[in-house]
C-alpha cells in the first residue's frame, strides 16, 4: 500500500453532526474543487447517494443496514442537514462530482458489532469513532472528558462547542486543530476494529487513485481519527484480512428524527441538542443568532403555559448569555450559557421548567422525509399511506387519541393499529378503554379488545418503526399478510385450546380472515383432547365473546353459527372436566378457581351455553367433600349469587362446612373460596355472618394459629365497605351496640384527656407503621 500516495489526496477530517465542520468543509470544497469525493459510510450504500441527495429527501434521514438471513439485526448511519458527510454528498451532486462511500460494508460491521457490542441495535458506523468511546466501557473517565475537565470545562460537549463550533474557523486553521485533537484521542491504544477500518478505507482511496483519477482531484471526508491515522501513516494494510466475511444484508434509507439523534451521545455520535445546531446551521454558524432564536422560542413556550415572559426578558437572557460567554472566553454562547441564562432570567432562578418542558425544544422533534422514488418497501408505503389517510400522529413525540368503534373508519384504524401490535412494529400502545381510570392496564388484545367500544391509544413514530417495517418484509408484502403469517405461526405452536382461542380472537381483532377459519379448526381439535380446565374455560369465554360480539371485523366467511356451535361444544367439554380439576392439590387451586368463575360468567351470559349443566356441576362441587374446599366455597358463593340457593340454605351450608368436625384449615380454605365471589353480598347477610362468627369463635387457640395465614388471606381481600358491613353485622349479632354506647358515656366523662393521649400515641404508632410498610 502506497501511503505516500494517500497523503497526496485531499484529506478532510470531520466530526459527525457538527455545523461548524460542515460550514468549513463547504468553503474548503469550493477551493479544492475535487472530481471525486470519498465519504466515510458503508461502501455498499453508495447506490443510495442519489436518494440521499434527492430534492425530496429532507434530513434527518439514516442509512439502514439490516440482515436478510432471518436474524433480526440492523444498524443505522444517521445524517442531519448539518452533518459534514451529508454536505459533502450534496456538494458533489451540485458540482457534478462523483461521490462514494468507502467504509466497510454493512454486512461486515453488522457481524463485528454482534461480537463486541453488549446492547442490540447499537449503531456501529456512528458510535465507536475513536479511542474516546472505546474506553467508555471501562469505569474510567474517557480521555475526552478528562481533557475537558482539565481545561475548566464541565463536559467534553462544552469544550467542543467553545473550541470548535463557536469560533469562525478558516479551512486552514480548522484542519490542524481537528487533527491535533484526533491525535490526543489516538494517543491511547486504538481499538482493532477502527484500525481494520483504516486499512479498508485506505485501500478504497488508493483504488480510486489507481483507476486513473489524479490524487489532487480526490477528496476524502472522514472522521478525524481516521484522517489523523492516514496522515500519520499509521495504517497496516495486513489488518484488512482480519475483517470478517460479513453476513447477508441489505441497505435502504429511512427517515430519522432529532430526538433519536440527541440520544446518541459520545464523541462523534450525536448532539445534545439537534434543533439548536440546526438553527445554528441555518444561521451560517452564527451561534449568537441561534441562541437568540431559541430564547424567543422559550419565551413563547412559557407564555403558552401561562407564565410571564416578555420580550425584555428575552433581551436580558440574551445579554446574560453573551456576557457569560465573554467571561468564559468563548466566541459565542453555547448550550450551557443558554441554559444558565434561561434559568436566571426567564425562569427566575427555578430550573424545573427548563428541565420539564423547555429543553425539549432545543432537541426538537423533527422527522425527516425520504424521496418517494426509492427507499420505501411496500410495508413502509402502506404504513405511511394509512397513517396519513387516517390522520394518525407522525411526529417523534408521544400523542394520545381515542377511537370510537361504532363506525367503519375508526374500526379500520383500530384494525390497523392492532395489526402493528401483533406484528411487533413499535408505533402505538393501547392506553386502556378510557372510561376506567386508575384501573390496571388492560390487556391490549384478546377478549378485552373484543368487548371495547372505545380505545385510547398513544402513538409515536420513531426510526425503529421504520426499521421494523423494513425487517418484517420477509414475512409478507402487506401488513395483513405479515400479521396472518405471525398468527399462523402462533397457531402451529399452540398447545392448548386457550392458545388456539387466543389466536382466534387476535385474528378477528386484526381482521385476518384467513386465520379465523384455521384457528376455529384448531380450537375444535384441541378441545377434544384438552383436559386442562383453565384452558378450556378461557377458550369457552373467548368463543362466547365471539358469539356475542360477532366476527364481522374479520369479514371471515366461516359465519357466526360455526363459532356458536364450537362454543357450545367447548363449554360442554369444560363441564366434564370440572369435578376432576377441582380435586386438585392446594397449590394448583388458583387457576381452577379462576376457571370456575369464568365458566359461571359464560353460563349466565351466553344463551348457547349449558346453564343447567353448569348449575348441576356447581351444586355437585358444593356438596362434595372430595374436591378442594375452596372450590366448594366458591361454588356455594356463586350459586347464592345466582339466586339458585336461598339465604338460609347458604347459612346452613356454610355452618356445616365450618363446623367443629371439619379441619380448621379446610374450613378456612372453604371460606377463602366463598369470599372470593362478590363478598359484599355475602357479608350483608346476617345469617352468613353468624355462621362465620360461630366458626371463628370456636377454633381453638392452637388451631387458630395454624389457620391464621389462610384466614388472613381470605378476609384480607375485603375492602373497607365490606369490612364495615361485616363489623356492623357482628356487632348486631353479639348485641355489642348497647354495651358499647354505655362504655362510651362512662369513658367520655372520666378520661377525655387520657383518651386524647392514647389516640395521639396510636396515631404515631400508625404513622410509624405506615413508614415501615
Amino acid at each position: 500500500m502506497d501511503l505516500a500516495l494517500l497523503s497526496r489526496v485531499h484529506l478532510f477530517p470531520v466530526r459527525h453532526h457538527s455545523p461548524r465542520t460542515t460550514a468549513v468543509l463547504g468553503r474548503w470544497l469550493e477551493r479544492v474543487r475535487p472530481e471525486v469525493i470519498l465519504v466515510e459510510g458503508p461502501c455498499d450504500a453508495t447506490g443510495l447517494v442519489d436518494v440521499l441527495c434527492d430534492e425530496a429527501t429532507k434530513p434527518p434521514v439514516a442509512i439502514l443496514g439490516y440482515r436478510t438471513d432471518g436474524t433480526p439485526r440492523s444498524a443505522l448511519w444517521p445524517f442531519a442537514e448539518y452533518s459534514p458527510e451529508y454536505a459533502a454528498l450534496r456538494w458533489a451532486k451540485a458540482n457534478k462530482a462523483r461521490a462514494e462511500f468507502i467504509d466497510i460494508p454493512v454486512g461486515v460491521s453488522l457481524e463485528v458489532d454482534r461480537e463486541d457490542s453488549e446492547e442490540p441495535g447499537a449503531e456501529p458506523g456512528v458510535e465507536t469513532e475513536s479511542a474516546a468511546t472505546s474506553v467508555t466501557h471501562e469505569p474510567e473517565e474517557p480521555i475526552s472528558e478528562r481533557f475537558a475537565k482539565e481545561r475548566g470545562y464541565r463536559s467534553f460537549e462544552e469544550l467542543w462547542e467553545a473550541m470548535f463550533e463557536a469560533p469562525d474557523w478558516t479551512p486552514e486553521g480548522f484542519r490542524p486543530v481537528l487533527l491535533a485533537w484526533a491525535d490526543v484521542l489516538n494517543a491511547g491504544p486504538r481499538n482493532d476494529y477502527h484500525r481494520w477500518r483504516d486499512a479498508f478505507m485506505a485501500r478504497k482511496v488508493l483504488e480510486v487513485v489507481a483507476s486513473g483519477v489524479p490524487p489532487e482531484k480526490v477528496a476524502v471526508v472522514a472522521g478525524a481519527a481516521h484522517v489523523a491515522a492516514f496522515i500519520a501513516g499509521d495504517v497496516d494494510a495486513a489488518l484488512e484480512a482480519k475483517l470478517p466475511k460479513g453476513v447477508p444484508c441489505a441497505v435502504t434509507v429511512i427517515p430519522y428524527s432529532f430526538p433519536r439523534l440527541a440520544e446518541q451521545l459520545g464523541y462523534g455520535a450525536g448532539n445534545r441538542a439537534p434543533q439548536f445546531y440546526q438553527k445554528a446551521h441555518e444561521a451560517k454558524c452564527d451561534f449568537r443568532r441561534a441562541t437568540l432564536e431559541v430564547l424567543i422560542d422559550f419565551a413563547g413556550h412559557l407564555r403558552t403555559r401561562g407564565f410571564t415572559a416578555s420580550l425584555s426578558d428575552v433581551l436580558e437572557a440574551y445579554r446574560l448569555a453573551l456576557t457569560l460567554a465573554d467571561m468564559r472566553e468563548k466566541s459565542a454562547p453555547g448550550l450551557d450559557e443558554l441554559r444558565e441564562a434561561t434559568v436566571a432570567t426567564l425562569c427566575r432562578g427555578d430550573a424545573t421548567h427548563v428541565d420539564g418542558f423547555l429543553w425539549k425544544s432545543v432537541i426538537g422533534h423533527q422527522v425527516g422525509r425520504v424521496a418517494s422514488r426509492i427507499g420505501q418497501n411496500s410495508l413502509q408505503a402502506e404504513f405511511w399511506r394509512e397513517v396519513d389517510a387516517r390522520r394518525l400522529p407522525r411526529s417523534d413525540s408521544p400523542e394520545t387519541f381515542s377511537l370510537r368503534l361504532n363506525n367503519d373508519v375508526e374500526v379500520g384504524s383500530s384494525v390497523f393499529l392492532h395489526r402493528l401490535r401483533v406484528a411487533g412494529i413499535p408505533y402505538a400502545a393501547l392506553q386502556g378503554a378510557g372510561q376506567q381510570r386508575g384501573a390496571p392496564p388492560a390487556e391490549a388484545g384478546g377478549y378485552a379488545a373484543l368487548t371495547r367500544v372505545r380505545e385510547s391509544w398513544q402513538a409515536q413514530w420513531t426510526p425503529s418503526t421504520d426499521v421494523a417495517l423494513v425487517e418484517k418484509i420477509v414475512l409478507g408484502d402487506t401488513l395483513e399478510a405479515v400479521t396472518t403469517r405471525i398468527l399462523q405461526e402462533r397457531l402451529t405452536e399452540a398447545k392448548s385450546t386457550a392458545d388456539a382461542a387466543d389466536v382466534l380472537l387476535e385474528s378477528v381483532i386484526t381482521g385476518c380472515s384467513q386465520t379465523v377459519a384455521a384457528a376455529l379448526r384448531a380450537c375444535d381439535a384441541h378441545a377434544a383432547t384438552d383436559s386442562d380446565l383453565p384452558s378450556l374455560a378461557s377458550a369457552a369465554r373467548a368463543l362466547s365473546g365471539l358469539v356475542a360480539y360477532g366476527t364481522s371485523r374479520a369479514h371471515a366467511d366461516v359465519g357466526d353459527e360455526a363459532v356458536a356451535v364450537l362454543c357450545e361444544k367447548t363449554f360442554g367439554r369444560a363441564l366434564l372436566r370440572v369435578r376432576e380439576a377441582s380435586a386438585c392439590a392446594p397449590d394448583a387451586v388458583g387457576p381452577v378457581l379462576e376457571a370456575l368463575r369464568t365458566l359461571h360468567e359464560v353460563a349466565l351470559a351466553q344463551p348457547r351455553a349449558d346453564k343447567a349443566g353448569w348449575l348441576a356441576e356447581a351444586r355437585g362441587l358444593m356438596e362434595s367433600h372430595a374436591v378442594h374446599p375452596s372450590t366448594s366455597g366458591l361454588a356455594t358463593g356463586l350459586l347464592y349469587l345466582a339466586q339458585e340457593l336461598a339465604e338460609s340454605d347458604v347459612a346452613l351450608e356454610v355452618g356445616r362446612r365450618l363446623s367443629l368436625a371439619v379441619e380448621p384449615e379446610a374450613g378456612a380454605a372453604y371460606l377463602e373460596g366463598f369470599l372470593q365471589v362478590n363478598a359484599l353480598v355475602l357479608v350483608k347477610s346476617r345469617e352468613v355472618v353468624k355462621a362465620l362468627d360461630d366458626f371463628l369463635t370456636s377454633v381453638e387457640a392452637e388451631r387458630f394459629r395454624q389457620t391464621l395465614p389462610v384466614l388472613r388471606r381470605a378476609l384480607g381481600a375485603l375492602g373497607p365497605t365490606e369490612r364495615r358491613y361485616l363489623m356492623e353485622n357482628v356487632v348486631a349479632l353479639r348485641q355489642l351496640g348497647t354495651k358499647g354506647q354505655a362504655v362510651k358515656v362512662v369513658l367520655e366523662e372520666k378520661d377525655k384527656e387520657k383518651l386524647k393521649d392514647m389516640s395521639a400515641e396510636l396515631g404515631k404508632a400508625l404513622d410509624d407503621l405506615d413508614d415501615l410498610l
Binding site: 410571564t308 425584555s312 456576557t323 467571561m327 434559568v343 432562578g349
Partner: protein, 361 residues
C-alpha cells in the same frame, strides 16, 4: 478594642489589593476588579497572586458564581434566592466587597423597613433650623451607592411590605431618585447596582410582584448535598470564626464528619446508605447552623470541658440547634439517636450516650 466582625473588604484587604494589582483584564465602568478577578476572589485560586494566596470564599458550582458576576457586569440587578443558611448574604457581601470595595451599603429588609431606608430622610434639627438643604438630607445606603457608583445590598426583600418593593422597582428601572424638597434629582453613577437576597422559606410573607421579579436576574444558591464539600465549608468557616474571636479549641475532623453526616441525613430524611428512614425535624438544618454548632461546641470544650471537643459538647450544642421551637423536633432527634446513632460505632456511640441524658423528658 477591635471590631467583633470585620467586613469582607477589610478582612481580605491584602487579597483584594493583590488581585487589583495583577488584574490586566478590562474592568466594567466603576468596577474595582475585572469579572475574572472577581471570580478568582470568590472561588479562590490554586496559585498565589502576587505572593498572596487567594482563599476560596464560596465552595460550590463555578457556573453559578459566573452567572452572578455576568449578571452584575451586564448592569442588571442580582437576586440571590435559596433556603436559609445557604450563604446568600455571605456571597452578596463578598461580591460587593470585590466589585465596589465596600459591602457596607446595606439595607436590611424587615416588616418595618420604610421608604426612608430606601431613599432619604432628614436631619430634623437642621431641617427646622435651615429649611430643606443638602446638608440636612440624610441619604439612604441605596442613595449613597447611586451617588458613588457602588453596589447596594438589600437583604430579605420578601420580608418588606409591597410598598417598599414597589419603590424598589422605580429605583431599579429609572436608576434615579428625585428629591422634590430640594428640586433635585440624583442619578446613579456608572458602577451602581443592587444585590438582593430572599428566602425561599418565607415566600409566603410578601411574595414579590411580577414587575419586581422582572428587574432581577435570579440565581438559586443550592443547599450543599455533597458531604465532603460541606465538611470542607464548615471546618474552614469554623476555623475562621475561632480565629476572629480568639476562643475555642479545634474540633477533631472525625466529629465534624459525624455532625455533617447527621445534618445531611436529617435533612434528607434517610441515612446515607439509603436503608433507614428518619424523621425530618422542622428546624432549618443549614450549613450555617452546622458551623454554629461546631463553633459552639469548641467554645464549650475550652471553657467548660476538658479542653478537647468530645461528643459530649457536640451533643449539648446540637440539641439546642435542632430543637428550636417545636416539641416534635425533640422526638425526631431522639428517634434518630435510637435508630441510627445507637447502632453505629466510635464517636457515634458516645454521641448517643451523651444525647440520651439531654433529650430525656
Amino acid at each position: 478594642m477591635p471590631d467583633i466582625r470585620l467586613p469582607a473588604e477589610a478582612k481580605y484587604k491584602t487579597e483584594l489589593e493583590a488581585l487589583a494589582a495583577h488584574d490586566d483584564k478590562p474592568r466594567p465602568p466603576g468596577w474595582a476588579l475585572s469579572p475574572r478577578a472577581v471570580e478568582m476572589y470568590i472561588l479562590g485560586s490554586p496559585k498565589p497572586v502576587g505572593g498572596v494566596s487567594i482563599t476560596p470564599k464560596y465552595v460550590g458550582d463555578k457556573g453559578l458564581i459566573q452567572v452572578c458576576i455576568a449578571t452584575l457586569a451586564s448592569d442588571r440587578a442580582l437576586m440571590l434566592v435559596g433556603e436559609p443558611g445557604t450563604a446568600k448574604s455571605w456571597l452578596s457581601e463578598h461580591l460587593s466587597a470585590a466589585v465596589s470595595g465596600t459591602s457596607a451599603l446595606i439595607v436590611q429588609g424587615t416588616a418595618g423597613t420604610s421608604e426612608d431606608h430606601l431613599k432619604y430622610s432628614w436631619n430634623y434639627a437642621l431641617l427646622l433650623a435651615q429649611g430643606p438643604s443638602p446638608e440636612a438630607l440624610v441619604p439612604s445606603p441605596v442613595l449613597r451607592a447611586m451617588k458613588t457608583g457602588k453596589f447596594a445590598r438589600f437583604e430579605e426583600v420578601t420580608r418588606t411590605s409591597p410598598e417598599i418593593q414597589d419603590a424598589l422597582i422605580s429605583i431599579l428601572s429609572e436608576k434615579q431618585v428625585s428629591i422634590p424638597e430640594l428640586g433635585d434629582v440624583v442619578s446613579a453613577q456608572r458602577g451602581f447596582n443592587l444585590i438582593a437576597t430572599a428566602n425561599t422559606r418565607d415566600r409566603g410573607v410578601n411574595e414579590m410582584s411580577a414587575a419586581l421579579k422582572r428587574r432581577f436576574n435570579f440565581v438559586t444558591v443550592p443547599v450543599v448535598e455533597d458531604l465532603e464539600q460541606e465538611i470542607q465549608i464548615v471546618t474552614k468557616r469554623e476555623a475562621e470564626l475561632r480565629n476572629d474571636y480568639q476562643v475555642g479549641v479545634p474540633p477533631p475532623e472525625e466529629l465534624s464528619r459525624l455532625l455533617l453526616t447527621l445534618f445531611q441525613e436529617l435533612r434528607k430524611g434517610v441515612t446515607k446508605d439509603g436503608k433507614t428512614k428518619v424523621r425530618t425535624p422542622g428546624a432549618v438544618l443549614s450549613t450555617a447552623e452546622a458551623i454554629s454548632v461546631l463553633f459552639n461546641s469548641s467554645i464549650l470544650a475550652e471553657q467548660f470541658g476538658g479542653g478537647k471537643v468530645t461528643p459530649h459538647e457536640l451533643a449539648a450544642s446540637l440539641v439546642g440547634a435542632v430543637v428550636k421551637e417545636q416539641e416534635d423536633d425533640v422526638k425526631a432527634l431522639r428517634e434518630y439517636m435510637e435508630t441510627v446513632a445507637k447502632s453505629r460505632t466510635g464517636a457515634w456511640k458516645e454521641l448517643y450516650t451523651a444525647s440520651k441524658k439531654l433529650l430525656r423528658g
